[in-house]
């Protein structure tokens, strides 16, 4: 990159040399001068100059200018309200206008105390009003979704929220209806704003118009603490503030990390915190006394019982990880099992090959890529939501974004990712469309390769493709793990013994099974193992089917209640801080107790540096041997009917399922089908359809026609695909 041309700009008599094209708001800041703004937010794209709060005097221009829409040019002389009475008068007038219809209900507005409108009015406003007429009124608050409420009286029409909806998340659901002074912020036909990133508008709103409904009347700014931590709900690891009041989490806000999340959060990360207070939260150790009956026991007794059960297993122990543990928790458990109990068997999610790390790049590099390729059947937005925003940002910046899956820009059969990867890596015999793409990728300097599906060969297939394409500086490989800290957990497991250890035994009795966390309990493989185990020790936050087979259940903690480190999908280690104290000792303390009884010292605090944090990266090279991909699905499907592809919705999982206000985001009982298949069967969106699997199981679902979906494929969320085989028959009811 060439060095930018520097120009000289004068702001309030202070001269500065600054790259040409820098926004005037930033230029002034660099001079130590603040220009107040409402609508200006560079992350929302080009400035719009809607609020006029930034009016300034520019030498040579007769009228006041909106500074946010201008950039640094040589010899530009800017006078802000600090030195120009004309600009100050302009700003006062603008604030008077903005406040014309504003209700000034700060004493009972949740934004009060942390409100840009309030702050700027105090600092720059006229301090009085000439408005003698009744102010405009609206019904309020209007729930634009169960998690967001809208107060139209407070809205100053800065259009930040609608710009986010149109230009960042691109859901285009929140819009400004009507024109001029009659404009209102609205959704279509007042339907709920149902999108993965809707909550961001509550943080963008510079007044109290869009607020999280879950925070309404919950706390005041002077009685809260904001704890800096990292979200533990998906492998992106967005940086957040956990707002707490009196020891309870009241809200989650973004804590902008420009390389990871750019200040955006998904609705799962923002609103799931309430699961800490779920009714079925386990609060004390429970011991099974009769079949399916549990009695509370004291912690001492629980530790005793755990040490006994694990000791009697005589090395026949299996650990099932959730992938949501901190590195330190996973490390403690791994050492307990591998060094203390002499076991090497575990279920470890997302055990990626270190070859993947050779192609590390920050998530922000996706935005700067020239070509992005997304491979795999899992929707990126459901597996690692913010990655979807980076891909959209890349497309807006002019990148070619190529998605290869059943609903992608190149439509392929479900389960074809490994085949496509091989075709792109060895294009000699590949179909022409992949040969052309492979050529394009080899000729491109900055490529972002996103793998969103089964971790074929533990990421080696993806790494082999990255190596074959010669991904170099500026390019990155992003294998999206299934679990939030799967990468850290698997590293911790490997570091505690000799390599990866073993898979759990296929059959026969198991001495003891340790189920670490609710997600592990939800895994059907773990459920099958638990039936063969003499002793099942489970740590879980909630009671449910997944805890019923346990002999001993310990209360589990949430990521908001822990201290430790986690590794995100980039391979970046980040610190999770305890926002609120769990109402009981956390897992680490308990396993330290058990370790002591078994003669293996484990620290009860996350103070030992985790061996999981690798210091050196492997080179960008081809990984070792690859396994043969499964035979490709035949174009028309091998069985009768349509090929089924299922996916796990972002709004699924033990925590989010327990948050009532997010129930509207849960996946609908819906079958997506291609236009051609819908046309053949006379099905329209909204029709009831009967879906019958090869095994004869039938279920009624609602049809939704997806024009992007490849013909011959239907898609259903995991929750609604129970009992379906790989091929289904679909007919109109």
């Amino acid at each position: 990159m060439s060095t930018p041309e520097l120009v000289t700009v004068t702001v309030d008599d202070r001269e500065i040399r600054i790259p040409k094209g820098t926004g005037l708001i930033e230029t002034a800041l660099a001079c130590g001068v603040e220009i107040p703004v409402f609508c200006y937010e560079p992350r929302l794209g080009a400035p719009v100059g809607a609020c006029r709060m930034c009016l300034c005097e520019v030498e040579g221009m007769p009228k006041l200018q909106a500074a946010c829409t201008m950039t640094a040019q040589d010899a530009l002389v800017l006078r802000t309200a600090q030195t120009s009475e004309k600009a100050a008068e302009g700003q006062r007038a603008i604030l008077e206008f903005i406040l014309l219809n504003h209700p000034l209900d700060c004493p009972d507005c949740d934004k009060g105390g942390e409100c840009p409108l309030q702050d700027l009015t105090f600092r720059w406003g006229p301090g009085n009003t000439r408005m003698h007429f009744p102010k405009r009124t609206f019904d309020k608050p209007i729930p634009i979704s169960p998690v967001i409420s809208l107060d139209r009286e407070r809205c100053i029409l800065c259009y930040r929220c609608t710009r986010f909806s149109e230009g960042v998340a691109e859901d285009m659901q929140l819009v400004a209806r009507n024109r001029g002074a009659q404009s209102i912020i609205a959704t279509f036909e007042d339907e709920p704003y149902r999108a993965h990133f809707s909550g961001n508008v509550t943080e963008l709103c510079p007044v109290g118009a869009l607020l999280p409904a879950t925070y309404r009347f919950r706390a005041r700014p002077w009685e809260i603490d904001n704890v800096p931590t990292v979200c533990g709900l998906c492998p992106v690891g967005c940086n957040v503030w956990a707002t707490t009041r009196e020891g309870k989490v009241a809200r989650i806000l973004s804590r902008n990390h420009p390389e990871v999340d750019d200040g955006w959060l998904c609705d799962k990360g923002r609103f799931t915190f309430d699961h800490l207070r779920a009714d079925d939260r386990i609060k004390q150790p429970l011991k099974r006394v009769r079949r399916r009956g549990f009695d509370p026991v004291a912690w001492e007794e629980a530790a005793e019982e755990a040490a006994r059960g694990l000791g009697e297993a005589e090395g026949s122990v299996v650990v099932a990880f959730s992938g949501g543990e901190t590195n330190e928790q996973a490390g403690a458990l791994a050492r307990l099992a591998r060094q203390g109990l002499g076991s090497n068997a575990a279920i470890v999610p997302d055990d990626l090959d270190p070859a993947v790390d050779g192609f590390r790049a920050p998530l922000a590099a996706i935005r700067d890529a020239e070509v992005c390729v997304v491979l795999g059947d899992e929707p990126v937005v459901d597996r690692a939501p913010v990655v979807d925003l980076w891909l959209r940002a890349a497309r807006r910046a002019g990148a070619d974004v190529i998605t290869i899956h059943p609903a992608g820009s190149i439509g392929v059969s479900p389960g074809s990712a490994a085949h496509v990867a091989r075709s792109l890596a060895e294009p000699g015999t590949a179909p022409p469309e992949f040969r052309e793409l492979a050529d394009q990728l080899r000729d491109t300097q900055r490529v972002a390769l996103v793998w969103s599906g089964d971790d074929h060969d533990r990421g080696r297939r993806a790494a082999a493709l990255a190596a074959a394409l010669g991904l170099g500086e500026g390019s990155g490989l992003y294998v999206l793990p299934r679990t939030p800290n799967g990468r850290g957990v698997s590293s911790a497991w490997r570091a505690a013994g000799e390599g990866r250890g073993e898979e759990p035994p296929e059959d026969g009795e198991i001495g003891a099974l340790i189920v670490s966390g609710d997600e592990a309990g939800y895994d059907p493989r773990v459920a099958r193992l638990s039936e063969r185990a003499r002793f099942v020790l489970t740590t879980a936050m909630f009671m449910g089917d997944h805890t019923l087979w346990s002999h001993l259940v310990l209360p589990g903690t949430s990521y908001l209640e822990r201290d430790g480190t986690v590794v995100n999908l980039e391979g970046r280690a980040q610190r999770q801080r305890r926002a609120v104290d769990p109402p009981f000792p956390d897992e680490l303390e308990f396993f330290a107790e058990v370790g002591e009884r078994l003669g293996l010292p484990v620290s009860p605090r996350p103070d030992e540096p985790s061996p999981a944090l690798q210091a050196e990266l492997p080179p960008r090279s081809r990984p070792g041997a690859l396994s043969e991909p499964a035979p490709p699905p035949s174009p028309n499907g091998t069985g009768p009917g349509l090929e089924l592809v299922t996916y796990r919705s972002l709004f699924s999982g033990p925590g989010v399922e327990r948050v009532e206000p997010l129930a509207f985001q849960r996946p609908r009982a819906e079958l997506e089908l291609s236009f051609a298949d819908a046309d053949d069967r006379g099905i329209s969106t909204g029709d009831a359809v009967l879906v019958v699997g090869a095994d004869g199981v039938g279920r009624e679902l609602t049809a939704r026609v997806n024009r992007r979906l490849r013909a011959g494929v239907v898609r259903v969320a995991d929750e609604h695909a129970d009992g379906f085989a790989r091929h289904v028959e679909v007919g109109k009811v």
Binding site: E166, D171, M172, Q173, L174, V175, A176, R177, N178, R179, A186, T187, F188, E189, F675, A678, D679, G682, I683, S684, T685, V705, R707
Partner: protein, 156 residues
């Protein structure tokens, strides 16, 4: 789900634009022509055809005066009340229409025949008051012309 005629017509229009969503205004016009007004279902059809959201289509439609977001009568009478027409008595013309039709501006007669609306400048400022009857201009219109216009409309 057979593709509707409207869907195909919108595709033909969209093909003429480098960016397909730029076809939103002609597409809304086509939908209005087919449905008479831009009902929620009509907006959904346009959104589906251009791969936009219904909310976005509604936002565009609500910005402009000549898209109808409420059902309208078989005929429309649109009285310009912008500055030039207002200076030469548009208000009196409007009131004459209201009296003759028995409805307020923005309403439709009970028999569903005629919708009366006010409208922004129609570009006939030299010949105020301008009234668009079924999109054909009548100018200049005086209050006493109103019964004749309506008779003609009902008769034809």
């Amino acid at each position: 789900m057979p593709e509707s005629d409207l869907y195909r017509e919108i595709q033909r229009v969209a093909d003429r634009y480098p960016v397909r969503r730029s076809a939103i205004m002609p597409a809304l016009h086509l939908a209005q022509g087919k449905h008479g007004w831009l009902s929620p279902d009509a907006l959904r059809e346009v959104a589906d055809a251009l791969d936009l959201s219904p909310a976005y289509c509604q936002a565009v439609a609500s910005f402009y005066d000549m898209y109808h977001l409420e059902p309208v009568g078989r005929h429309t009478v649109e009285v310009c009340t912008n500055i030039s027409c207002a200076l030469v008595g548009a208000q009196q013309v409007l009131e004459a229409f209201e009296e003759e039709l028995g409805v307020h501006a923005g309403e439709t007669t009970e028999d569903g025949e005629i919708t009366l609306r006010t409208i922004e400048c129609l570009g006939g400022c030299g010949w105020g008051t301008v009234v668009a009857v079924d999109h054909r201009y009548r100018e200049p219109v005086k209050p006493e012309d109103v019964p004749g216009i309506l008779e003609e409309l009902r008769g034809g």
